[in-house]
Symmetry: C2
Subunit: 395 residues, 2 copies
């Protein structure tokens, strides 16, 4: 089965999920409940934005050809009032931010730049159009404001509020089954023996799924026998996506891949040139996608973020899924063995510099909790000096 | 009243809120409900992590001094089993990832690097400690895993699950009152006249407050009269934080600052050298903080993200509040007039390059919705060439 580079594996997930997904069912929610959901219908402008030319400053509406000069103050207009009388030659009208530019005027001069004497103001030179937001400059009536598949954030909320959408059509959240595997796993409320560990992966995956817009369903832990594992995997494949953690390395008791194969699974890849998380599996049984995420906690978290999160977002109806990758200068030199793309816990200090956090490998959850980003070390480079730019993945 | 640079204004918010805040009350929630909340009590390790030295590979536990060499296979040990018998001289024990290293062994060789012949394996040279995660290497029993004031993300969830915290002590969310002002504002479900606009700011602020961990309460719109505004501001000051939008520019009908002053408000700043959002106000009445956010939608959104979000997070008990600022190379040249720090809508393409989105000024919500980051143009630089690095603020 294929081993892919990080970039090829990610492209494989995005392309196959996009090609084969069925878009989710739709429901209607109030605007207040829409944040974080995925828009299911386009949003159009119900009028020109702005509906009239607007002043973007407090000051005076003027005819630019009259400026500089002494102008007679012929009235005032506030943002909450209908358009006023026209501005005649040699006149001006006092205007507040957001108010409609009166007929005749073609510029606004700022109040701070004028001097008033009784019913007259001394106006500086104004260019035509100055401090005016023209009608329809932001959107035309009937124009498309938001496409279906947009994840609704605060700007989309503002836009829908402005367009009069008090109710919003959104996609149902995808259901994501989470199946931790392994004989060594006990529940969170239990006290593990020396050779046991608590089930942390199912809980961190549930938080990650929720953040990606999905509804997590944690299945019972699958013990390392074929029958127990098969029954739970079949149950998980009824969801929109199945996330398995553990059971995908080369160990002889890792029965997960055998069970999946016996269910007719197709595997897109079963290894990626990354660390942590090298033995990551992506495939499908009929139209149900699954990931086999390596069981070490850091591997589970990282492979979810870089691969499975895109699947959750796309199955939730998002038009696209982008990794939040940028650059930051290193606070200390960094080197690694090329060949694998590495995702390592790191601290980004308010955009200044990024510092690698020493860690004990892919079981080291405390190091990941101390991190606020992952440093991304490219597979084709060996060393970075202090101050060199390196990719960071926002956590 | 003082005008501050962006950096000084942000430091002013963080320092004053941190110095004067009372930490919120505490409640207990289940682990499943803890994501996104702020931890109120420290979390300690209930045992060494790992509790025993663990194998980080599937393979064979060996005595490194016996390698390279032919070793007798004396048994096997799985992750779900107690420690096995010791490894004697010339012996090895088959071991699965996560299983306890048996007595006598000091290294693991990967199954892929060995050759098996009946009860013997041919092992390559192994260094002492190879593929072993030592006992307590990630945390010591009783050691501090998480400090109070940590915002709970997926890694914190994993860590608390592993430490046996099925219930978590968290701070109550801060209550944030939102008060839009202006005679021109109508409700979302209403049809505005040509000179009116719908109330979008209250709704986008509510989404931003929720994302920052607060509970928003939208007050009725304050009309531009002293009495109406005063009653609503007094109501808003009973919350943990009051956000006003509109009413803070130099217009003669902007009564907000007058009303605040008459209530005995102290003002830390009433102008910041930024765009959009220059006339932003930060102050307090007794111990209640407030922001006067400029009413143009983009100004409201940006000034919330760069100033008010920090206040919500700190009032919610977070130990620190960091701006998600990094760097990206520009896809096209960019120039601006120095003197102000500008926050402009931009698209970041999977960490490759950032592109400025043309916009019509601080009313242009469609441009902000198309953006996935804000480009941050420093106040002390005039131009950037294609490929130059520029700061980006994650949206």
């Amino acid at each position: 089965m294929p081993t892919l580079t990080f970039e090829a594996a990610r492209a494989c997930v995005v392309e196959n999920v996009t090609a084969l997904r069925a878009l989710p069912q739709v429901e209607t929610v109030t605007l207040a409940d829409a944040a974080g959901r995925v828009l299911a219908s386009p949003v159009f402008a119900d009028r020109d934005w702005p509906a009239t030319p607007r002043s973007v400053r407090d000051g005076f509406a003027v005819r630019s050809s009259d400026t500089p000069g002494r102008l007679r103050l012929a009235g005032e207009i506030r943002a909450g009032e209908p358009a006023s009388a026209a501005v005649g030659i040699g006149e001006c009208i006092e205007i507040m931010t957001g108010a409609t530019i009166p007929e005749g005027a073609d510029a606004v001069v700022m109040v701070e730049h004028t001097r008033r004497e009784g019913d007259y103001i001394e106006a500086p030179a104004a260019k035509p159009g100055q401090f005016i937001n023209p009608r329809a400059s932001e959107a035309r009536r009937g124009g498309l404001l938001l496409e279906p598949g947009s994840r609704i954030g605060f700007a989309e909320i503002a836009l829908m509020a402005a367009a009069g959408c008090s109710h919003v059509s959104v996609f149902l959240r995808p259901r994501v089954a989470i199946l931790a595997t392994g004989d060594e796993i006990v529940q969170v409320h239990e006290t593990p023996l020396a050779h046991q560990i608590r089930n942390s992966n199912a809980h961190s995956l549930a938080a990650q799924v929720r953040r990606a817009g999905g509804v997590p369903a944690i299945l019972p832990v699958a013990r390392d026998t074929r029958d127990a594992t098969r029954a739970l995997i079949e149950q998980g494949l009824a969801a929109d996506l199945l996330l398995l953690s553990g059971g995908v390395s080369a160990g002889k008791y890792d029965v997960v891949e055998d069970v999946l194969a016996s269910l007719g699974a197709g595997f897109y890849f079963d290894r990626a040139l990354i660390q942590p998380g090298q033995p990551v599996v992506f495939g499908r049984v009929n139209r149900a996608f699954f990931f086999g995420l390596p069981g070490n906690p850091a591997s589970t978290m990282v492979t979810f973020e870089i691969f499975a999160r895109a699947a959750v977002e796309l199955l939730g109806g998002q038009r696209e899924s982008l990794l939040p990758l940028t650059l930051a200068p290193l606070a200390t030199p960094f080197r690694h063995k090329p060949g694998l793309t590495r995702f390592l816990p790191a601290r980004l200090d308010s955009g200044e510099t990024v510092t690698h956090i020493p860690w004990q490998g892919s079981g080291d959850v405390p190091a990941i909790a101390r991190a606020n980003v992952f440093l991304v070390a490219a597979a084709d480079r060996e060393s970075w000096e202090r101050g060199d730019l390196i990719q960071v993945l926002m956590k």
